[in-house]
């Protein structure tokens, strides 16, 4: 019997998930069983997947062919470094999310839960298949199945019109994007129905066609990733979905788009042009800034996180843009650096955003409230969840020594090394881009302080919060897994980079090595003199500093402590309503970036008996991009609709004119 290849285990996990999906449908009458047995099993599957993928990262590429699919095109599977990495991301993040789900969904009614379990595992399996596919057909099948299953997850609660609208918008944009991807495959295919990636790798397209392919792929995958201006679905769909699903969509599904861009650009097209990089870089920066600015003004906690996802996707795209640019100029070491940062950030984001969405889910579960303006002070009711979410908050704010910082650090390093580019204008663009990136990262801090501070700190803004309960056992387990991931990824960047080396080797033919191998303690991407960073040492110093000061204070201080009412400059009648609301906290951002928003304000006059203030920020891009498209489509369809006039004479005339025109044409 031949040895079990990693690809077989991965396929095994996929089959296992599919089996769980069907079991979910079958066990509709036993919701407890679904929640507490199937979901933990699914987490185990995910863990096995992650372990397999980790093992397969450095190994040779495995291929397999399934006797399914189109007649001349059986399903081709391939497990190479790139797919292993993303499968690792999937498995690692999904195990936490599935654990959380075991607790989160336990109160759901049976029929809905069975269906949800079915779609959930279909979603997982199709995402894994996306990473594994080695031909265009299987890729598209998996890709669209992923969209479809997540659509049903988004519309789990379909009785709410806004959820239906969100789901519709999501699936529509996903579908249009998928057609774009399909077309890019159409350019690359070898003709005669040969759609395998192997053939595409061999097809040497001319510059024009390669660019068309890249742009189509960027469009198609961008629609899934939420790159400007195709982001419109994201802030709608994420809040609509149940929280574990939002976590999975944001943490994992968006990365499938990143995977797709990388696969097409570096693997299938193989020789990118430099200006692709500029496009990706510019789009990425715009997306990042847009995402974070909008995140800052949100009042719904899940919308806030969704916009933050847009920001992070933007950052990742910036990394891809840099990688392309370096690669096009044959600066392999630098492109490997940029690519490492990109992949690293993708991995980090899966953990951080997964954690935050799950945390938001716990809050939602405990309070039934998504509006931050009605939350507050939950750190007292939900201390454990609050602690774990704090880790995610600090990580996504890009603070050392957690993981978000590590990848942003690498990306900034890549920027700083760019001045060696042999192109003067590009040279100038890069510092500006670095500045914009830094701005986005700093704003992310603002956003996260708002997120955490408004929800968990301060006084509870409504009475019902006092009876909120902490996250349950399964939920804590899931949260803790992701939080640990954030910490570990932040503390041991060098190990991460070592594991990313095969991927960069595979994609850009170079890897960050040598220097990183010298010590697991120091992160030195190029040379120690150029840059170095050691989160572990940093963390230890902070810990020592804290312990030392604690010790000193304890030693010399008498330790007397009194509890009293808050002082607040002596103002006596404080209430929870005097705290900043979510809107209030983002007021400066609204003011500074006013030009980006459409703001609708209702200000009370001084004489109002019951003054009401209402402010709503609107995405101008919606009016700029989508409304004209909708208008155009409506106009066109009303114009075309006039053709269907109802009068048979007119119809006969159409036939007549068609006939005459064709006859004249033949003539």
């Amino acid at each position: 019997m031949p040895a079990l290849l990693p690809i077989d285990s991965v396929a095994g996990v996929i089959l296992f998930w599919l089996a769980l999906a069907l079991l979910g449908l079958a066990l509709q009458n036993a919701p407890r069983l679904i929640a507490q047995l199937l979901f933990p099993l699914s987490a185990i599957g995910a863990l096995a997947l992650a372990a397999t993928a980790l093992g397969a990262l450095g190994g040779p590429a495995n291929v397999a062919v399934l006797p399914l699919g189109l007649p001349d095109l059986p399903f081709h599977l391939r497990l190479d470094a790139l797919s292993s990495f993303f499968l690792l991301l999937l498995g690692a993040a999904a195990s936490g999310i599935s654990l959380f789900s075991a607790g989160y969904f336990r109160t759901m009614p049976g029929r809905a839960l069975g269906l949800l379990c079915f779609q959930y595992h279909l979603f997982l399996a199709s995402m894994a298949l996306v990473f594994l596919a080695d031909d265009a057909y299987l890729f598209m099948v998996a890709w669209e199945s992923m969209a479809l299953s997540s659509y049903f997850l988004v519309t789990t609660d379909h009785t709410l019109p806004q959820n239906r609208r969100a789901g519709f918008l999501y699936l529509l944009i996903a579908h249009v994007g998928a057609i774009g991807i399909l077309m890019s495959f159409g350019v690359m295919q070898g003709g005669h129905g040969d759609y395998t990636f192997a053939t595409m790798r061999g097809s040497h397209l001319s510059g024009l066609w390669a660019s068309v392919t890249f742009l189509l792929a960027l469009f198609g995958f961008g629609a899934k990733a939420g790159i400007l201006p195709l982001h419109a679905w994201l802030p709608e769909a994420h809040p609509a979905a149940p929280s574990p699903v939002s976590a999975m969509m944001s943490g994992i599904m968006l990365k499938t788009a990143i995977y797709g861009i990388l696969r097409v650009t570096f693997d299938l097209l193989s020789a990118p042009l430099w200006w692709w990089g500029t496009i990706a870089l510019t789009l990425g920066l715009l997306t990042a800034l847009f995402g974070v600015i909008f995140a800052a003004v949100q009042t719904d906690m899940k919308r806030l996180l969704a916009y933050s996802s847009i920001e992070n996707i933007g950052i990742i795209l910036v990394g891809i843009g840099l990688t392309i640019t370096f690669h096009a100029f044959h600066m392999q070491a630098l492109s490997a650096l940029a690519l490492t940062a990109t992949l690293y950030h993708a991995l980090n984001h899966a953990f951080m955003k997964g954690l935050l969405f799950l945390g938001a889910g716990s809050v939602l579960h405990a309070t039934g409230e998504r509006n931050m303006g009605k939350l507050g002070g939950l750190i007292h009711q939900m201390p454990k969840a609050a602690l774990l979410v704090l880790v995610g908050t600090l990580a996504i704010a890009g603070l050392p020594p957690l993981n978000g910082f590590a990848s942003e650090w690498l990306l900034l390093q890549a920027f700083l090394l760019s001045p060696t580019l042999p192109h003067p204008y590009l040279n100038m663009l890069v510092p500006v881009a670095a500045a914009a990136l830094a701005l986005a990262a700093a704003l992310a801090g603002y956003v996260m302080v708002k997120f955490y501070g408004i929800i968990f700190l301060g006084q509870p803004r409504s009475e019902k919060l006092r009876s909120a309960h902490d996250a349950g056992g399964w939920e804590q387990f899931g949260l803790a897994w992701l939080a640990l991931g954030c910490i570990a990824l932040g503390m041991f960047p060098m190990l991460v980079i070592d594991h990313l080396a095969p991927v960069t080797q595979f994609l850009v033919g170079h890897q960050l090595h040598g220097n990183t191998a010298q010590s697991w303690l120091w992160l030195t991407p190029v040379q120690p003199e150029r840059a170095s960073y050691s989160p572990l040492i940093l963390f230890s110093i902070i810990v020592i500093g804290v312990l030392f000061s604690l010790l000193v204070v304890k030693k010399f201080y008498h330790g007397r402590l009194r509890r009293g009412p808050a002082w607040d400059c002596g103002f006596p009648e404080q209430s929870a309503r005097m705290q900043d609301t979510a809107e209030g906290f983002s007021q400066p951002i609204r003011q500074i970036f006013e030009m980006f928003f459409g703001v609708i304000r209702e200000l009370p006059s001084p004489f109002d008996k019951h003054p009401r203030y209402r402010g709503e920020t609107i995405d101008r891009l919606w009016n700029l991009f989508y409304v004209p498209i909708i208008k155009l489509a409506t106009t066109l369809s009303s114009l075309i609709g006039k053709l269907q006039h109802g009068r048979i004479h007119i119809y006969l005339m159409y036939s007549f004119i068609t006939l005459l025109a064709l006859l004249a044409f033949v003539r």
């Binding site: 390093q413 801090g445 708002k450 150029r530 170095s532 509890r563």
Partner: protein
């Protein structure tokens, strides 16, 4: 990493933590002199710390563990920042752990924590302070980063040690880009250390206060640690400025003999910088809070401009 280097690192750690309030005292004293007051003396900050350490701590009823824990983190962060800047010599074994980007990260970490703690009690002033602090921060942080980057592209490194060694120990070159960076840095310094014209550390007026609003609820030992951390932060910033723009005199890695000179140079530079800061504060007026974003935006743009200048002039 040899033993002497480690010892030196320890020495610097101790030195900064002890000397930080002194610098603060000096700045305040200078300010008093400039305003025709006699002043409380340079040791006043120490007295204040001792006084605070003697007091009973009062905590609000709904203070969470985060609130109590924050001062220690803040203190540790600032201490770390100040300890890793090459002040006297570039041979700091722990300094490579934190390059300039990480340094910015540490400042951000401290800022996030102090803002979170400010929101913890849930008072109007606390959240107000946190909001304003983050507002200043999100503009100051990238500006600071850009200042660092300007220096980094000159020295091809983000490591503070390498930057200092490049600037101080190679052939003397004038870098116009650094001029922009220096102006931006001073603006960031003012904002980040709660100085006039951005903030006024000695007032509790709700229209103006930022930093003070955040720490209103703290008392006794917690407040002491926060004050001390502020002093450390000021020291860290000024020494960073020195390292970037006036690095001459800092001893190179293996030149222990140059240490005395370095010590003297540092003393002179700190004295001058403190006096300069006091002068700057005296000459300018506190600006409205709404003007702060413009001020910070200017700093940010200046820093970016500095970096662009570097490329325009072909380094």
């Amino acid at each position: 990493m040899n033993l002497s280097a480690l010892l030196f690192q320890l020495l610097q750690d101790t030195l900064v933590v002890l000397a930080a309030p002194l610098l603060l005292g000096w700045v305040n004293q200078c300010r008093a002199w400039l305003q025709n007051r006699s002043g409380a003396g340079v040791l006043q900050p120490y007295r204040k710390l001792i006084k605070l350490f003697h007091k009973d701590a009062v905590l609000a009823h709904n203070a969470s563990p985060l609130f109590r824990f924050m001062p220690y983190i803040l203190f540790a962060c600032m201490w770390l920042a100040a300890a890793l800047v090459p002040v006297l010599a570039t041979d700091l074994p722990l300094s490579p752990a934190v390059d300039v980007i990480a340094l910015v990260g540490i400042f951000a970490l401290a800022r996030v924590f102090i803002s979170l703690a400010a929101m913890d009690i849930g008072t109007a002033f606390g959240t107000l302070g946190a909001r304003r602090e983050m507002l200043v921060g999100f503009l100051a942080e990238p500006a600071l980063l850009m200042v660092f980057f300007t220096a980094s592209v000159i020295s091809h490194s983000t490591s503070l040690i390498t930057i200092v060694e490049t600037l101080a120990h190679t052939q003397f070159v004038l870098y116009p880009s650094l001029a922009f960076a220096a102006v931006a840095f001073v603006m960031v310094l003012l904002a980040e250390n709660a100085r006039i014209p951005v903030d006024n550390p000695s007032t509790h007026l709700e229209l103006t206060m930022i930093h003070e609003a955040m720490i209103l609820e703290y008392s006794a030992r917690h407040l002491a640690l926060i004050e001390w951390a502020s002093a450390l932060k000021l020291l860290a910033y000024i020494t960073i400025g020195i390292a970037l723009f006036l690095p001459w005199g800092i001893a190179a890695a293996d030149h222990w003999s140059a240490l005395p000179i370095a010590l003297v140079a540092l003393f002179v530079k700190l004295t001058a910088a403190g006096a300069g800061l006091a002068l700057l504060e005296t000459l300018s007026a506190k600006m409205r809070i709404f003007r702060v974003p413009e001020f910070m935006g200017t700093a940010f743009l200046l820093a970016v401009l500095g970096m662009l200048t570097h490329f325009l002039l072909g380094s």
